[in-house]
């Protein structure tokens, strides 16, 4: 079964990049423009993994994580945080909110794919 990825990022550039890399890897990728949009999409598409930016308008990445984790459906979906910060306190905060892992921008194609595979168990 094809892995369904939900990519949430307010940057059009990053969304396009993630989508392209995911699709090249044979995954389905659905995009959302901010946290609120992301949560709406989450309910619609039931993704196998969520990749979310932290710093976004309307609802930030932490909000996305706690909404999903505290939600009614699919609460334990792997959630990867996409962030330019690699500072440990930010990772710690994301993890405290319930993030499964993180990807530091700028990412390279293989890394992001391998991280997605790692948390979803998708065959490589």
């Amino acid at each position: 079964m094809t892995v369904k990825v939900l990519a949430i990022d307010d940057s059009r550039t990053i969304r396009s990049l993630v989508q392209k890399v995911m699709e090249d890897a044979g995954f389905d990728c659905i995009c959302a423009e901010d946290g609120v949009d992301g949560i709406a999409r989450f309910a619609e598409v039931a993704p196998d993994v969520v990749i979310t930016d932290i710093n976004m308008p309307n609802m930030d990445g932490y909000g996305v994580i706690s909404s999903i984790r505290g939600g009614e459906i699919n609460q334990s979906v792997p959630i990867l945080v996409l962030t330019t910060e690699s500072a440990d306190h930010l990772k710690a905060r994301a993890r405290a909110a319930g993030a499964t892992g993180w990807i530091v921008k700028p990412f390279d194609d293989e890394t992001i794919v391998s991280v997605v595979r790692r948390v979803t168990g998708a065959a490589g």
Binding site: D10, S11, R12, T13, I14, S16, L17, K20, E33, D34, G35, V36, D37, I39, A40, D53, N55, M56, P57, N58, M59, G63, V64, S66, S67, R69, G70, G71, E72, Q75, S76, V77, P78, I79, T84, E85, S86, A87, D88, R95, G98, A99, T100, G101, W102, I103, V104, K105, P106, F107, D108, D109, T111, V115, R118, V119, T120, G121
Partner: protein, 705 residues
């Protein structure tokens, strides 16, 4: 990483939006806005530029954006005071960020010392804040997932590893699956897995739901510890984990088959999560509510060529409609004939389509205005003056091309307003004004035109000095007695530039004559008004679109021509006594107690055949620059209609007195006159370059074949 060039384009397009948001946010902050939304939006703009730039390995941009972001973060978190100096540095940094983006787009590199200077300014804002160093670890190198796990264990590879691993509840809650981790370890090499049940809770006790499963994995092979660390990177702290080298290398004879199907984690991931996350429920509710309220308008990005093709087709449609209407008229059908009514519907529909298509090309002037605030800052800095820009009507929409071609003239006028319009702070205070000058830049729609005004609250035009300069440069006769408006108009003459005297801004090599030419080329007009001690106002009036206009079809010397409706005040058939001859060729029209000069269009365009002259000519009263009026002499006025503008520039070059051509309903080609240029031609020797009558004449014949 080789992102497609289309994504690169996306990045730069996005950067435009981000830089716009940045400028807007900073402007709001400069005006005193301190709310989180504004500050966050500013932070996010820089942050997103950095994020995208990183993906394209634009190191200069990333480095600068990062430092900028650090300052913004300080402001956001309140550790950095938003002093005027910091505000100023941020605005200048935003300008520099825009330069860096532009340079990256052109695959250009800015001189490093420029960036260094800006970086130094930002550092100065940060003072001795240690955070700048703290944050500086990653963005400059492009290592991917940083693996901060100490030294490279390469020198002494162990024969294998023993991994003791016991998930805590939080591990499951965060969406991890121990089976996947075990499988990942197994993928590294032969691996033996033992389930450790020693920590299972008492099933009957209060901790029954506490996860208690653990595993011990013995991985053989010379895999580096780093690879293992990477697998467990995300679960560090979410489990009891111990990785130690396997000293005595008991490589299992054959990999254990049981590993292929790792044991299921006892408490399923779902089990602990409700308990773990009960406290977070309100967030979801908040999210769902916000979900109802959201909804940016969906937009579509379209290749400009496609829009232009559409506009061109619509232009042809309008011509086609006009031709059909003309044919019907020639056929003398009854006005209530079905065909006539349908054609009228067709005309209305065509007009609707045309307006809708034009709207696609229309853009708000806001980004253009925002760029001007930068120009203002730079000009103020260069001249040592203090100035602020106040804009209004930013959402006024204008044709994209008009906006693009307006950028240079507007830039010049803003510089001009700072350089020449505003006084220095001391002089201002001495005159009882605020030391900081205000320049108001506004846009508005007015009767089919777009009006752009640039007003400063400076000293006003120094008319004696302007007149003096004009005399010295031989632009006016030494004894000429000019009205105020005429003196102001001298500023637009080629060769008039007071700039040389004043400052280093004048080195840009543009005079107001160039501004006027640019505006005229857009089919617009520029005028000036000034009150001594109170300031100067320039008004630019532009057509809404460059593609069509409403025109009056007239005859001149046997030729059919079109005069833009917007410049015609009224049409007059003068009584014999209303025209007063002056000198040999000129005459004045007497109207309502005023005398207005007349211009013979045929003569000024070089049609020398007087036999074509009707005995009782018609006059079109037109208003030119500076509200000066004159009356154009034409032979006949036919009708008023919408015409599609076809540029002449690319085919013939510019023809004085003619702005463009059009195709009329009967397929005839007609020239569109430029009343201002024709009126200016009359105005005297100083005003215009010599027309080229012979060339023009040839063109007309060419056009009519």
């Amino acid at each position: 990483m080789a992102p497609q060039s289309s994504i690169r384009d996306t990045f730069f397009e996005e950067c435009e939006d981000l830089l716009e948001a940045l400028a807007e946010g900073l402007a709001a902050m400069a005006d005193g806005a301190r709310d989180t939304d504004t500050v966050n939006a500013v932070f996010r703009a820089v942050h997103s530029v950095k994020g995208g730039a990183g993906a394209f390995a634009l190191t200069d941009l990333v480095a600068f954006a990062h430092r900028f972001e650090t300052v913004l973060d300080g402001v956001r978190s309140g550790t950095l005071d938003l002093t005027p100096e910091v505000m100023h540095t941020m605005q200048r940094s935003a300008d520099h960020l825009a330069d860096l983006v532009e340079a990256a787009r052109n695959e250009d590199v800015l001189p490093p010392d420029v960036s260094d200077a800006f970086l130094a300014n930002l550092d100065q804002c940060l003072g001795a804040e240690p955070e700048s160093l703290d944050m500086g670890d990653t963005p400059f190198d492009f290592a991917v997932i940083p693996l901060e796990f100490g030294d490279d264990p390469a020198p002494k590879e162990p024969a294998g590893h023993v991994i003791r691993f016991r998930p805590l509840q939080q591990l499951y809650a965060n969406g991890h699956d121990p089976a996947l981790l075990i499988a990942a370890v197994h993928a590294l090499g032969p691996c033996e897995v033992a389930l450790d049940l020693s920590a299972l809770p008492d099933w009957d006790g209060p901790d029954a739901l506490t996860p208690g499963l653990g595993w011990t994995l013995r991985l053989a092979g010379r895999e580096s510890e780093t690879a293992l660390q990477e697998i467990f990177e995300f679960v560090e702290g979410l489990c009891e984990l111990d990785i130690s080298p396997l000293e005595d290398a008991p490589v299992p004879a054959d990999p254990l088959p049981s590993v292929a199907a790792p044991p299921p984690p006892a408490p399923g991931p779902e089990a602990p999560s409700p308990a773990a996350s009960a406290a977070q429920k309100p967030d979801l509710a908040a999210g769902a509510e916000a979900g109802e309220a959201r909804g940016p308008k969906p937009t579509l990005r379209v290749d400009l060529d496609r829009v232009d093709r559409l506009i061109n087709s619509v232009g042809e449609l309008i011509i086609n409609q006009a031709m059909i209407a003309q044919r019907l008229q020639d056929m003398a059908l009854a006005p209530d004939d079905d065909v006539s009514l349908h054609v009228e519907d067709y005309r209305l529909l065509a007009r609707d389509i045309q307006e809708a298509v034009m709207a696609i090309r229309a853009q708000p002037v806001k980004p253009l205005f925002q760029r001007m605030s930068r120009i203002l800052r730079e000009a103020a800095e260069a001249t040592g003056k203090s100035a602020r820009l106040v804009t209004f009507g930013e959402n006024t929409e204008v044709d994209k091309t008009v906006i693009e071609r307006l950028a240079d003239p507007l830039t010049h006028m803003i510089r001009n307003a700072v350089d020449h319009g505003l006084e220095g702070p001391d002089a201002r205070r001495a005159a009882g004004k605020d030391g900081t000058g205000t320049i108001r830049l506004g846009a508005a729609h007015r009767s089919g035109s777009v009006i752009i005004t640039i007003r400063d609250d400076g000293a006003g035009l120094n008319r004696p000095r302007i007149l003096d300069i004009a005399r010295r440069k031989g632009l006016v006769a030494p004894d000429a007695d000019l009205a105020d408006a005429e003196i102001d108009g001298l500023l637009f003459l080629p060769g008039f530039s007071t700039a040389s005297a004043v400052s280093n801004l004048s080195g840009r090599g543009v005079g107001l004559d160039v501004v006027r030419n640019a505006v005229t080329a857009l089919g617009g007009r520029i005028s000036i008004a000034s009150v001594p001690g109170q300031g100067t106002e320039f008004t630019i009036s532009l057509p809404l679109t460059l593609a069509v206009m409403d025109g009056m079809v007239v005859s001149v010397a046997g030729q059919t021509m079109v005069v833009p409706i917007t410049s015609i005040l009224e049409t007059i058939r003068p009584a014999p006594g209303d025209l007063h001859r002056v000198g040999t060729d000129d005459s004045l029209l007497s109207i309502r107690g005023r005398f207005i000069p007349t211009v013979d269009v045929a003569r000024s365009l070089g049609f020398t055949d007087p036999s074509a002259r009707a005995d009782f000519p018609l006059l079109l009263l037109v208003e030119g620059e500076n509200q000066s009026q004159c009356a154009l002499v034409v032979d006949a006025v036919h009708d008023q209609r919408q015409v599609v503008i076809k540029g002449l520039d690319s085919n013939y070059g510019q023809v004085p007195g003619v702005s463009a051509a059009t195709v009329l309903g009967d397929g005839q080609i007609a020239l569109i006159l430029d009343p201002d240029a024709i009126a200016a031609h009359r105005a005297g020797p100083a005003a215009t370059a010599a027309p080229r009558p012979s060339l023009f004449h040839a063109d007309v014949h060419h056009g009519q074949h």
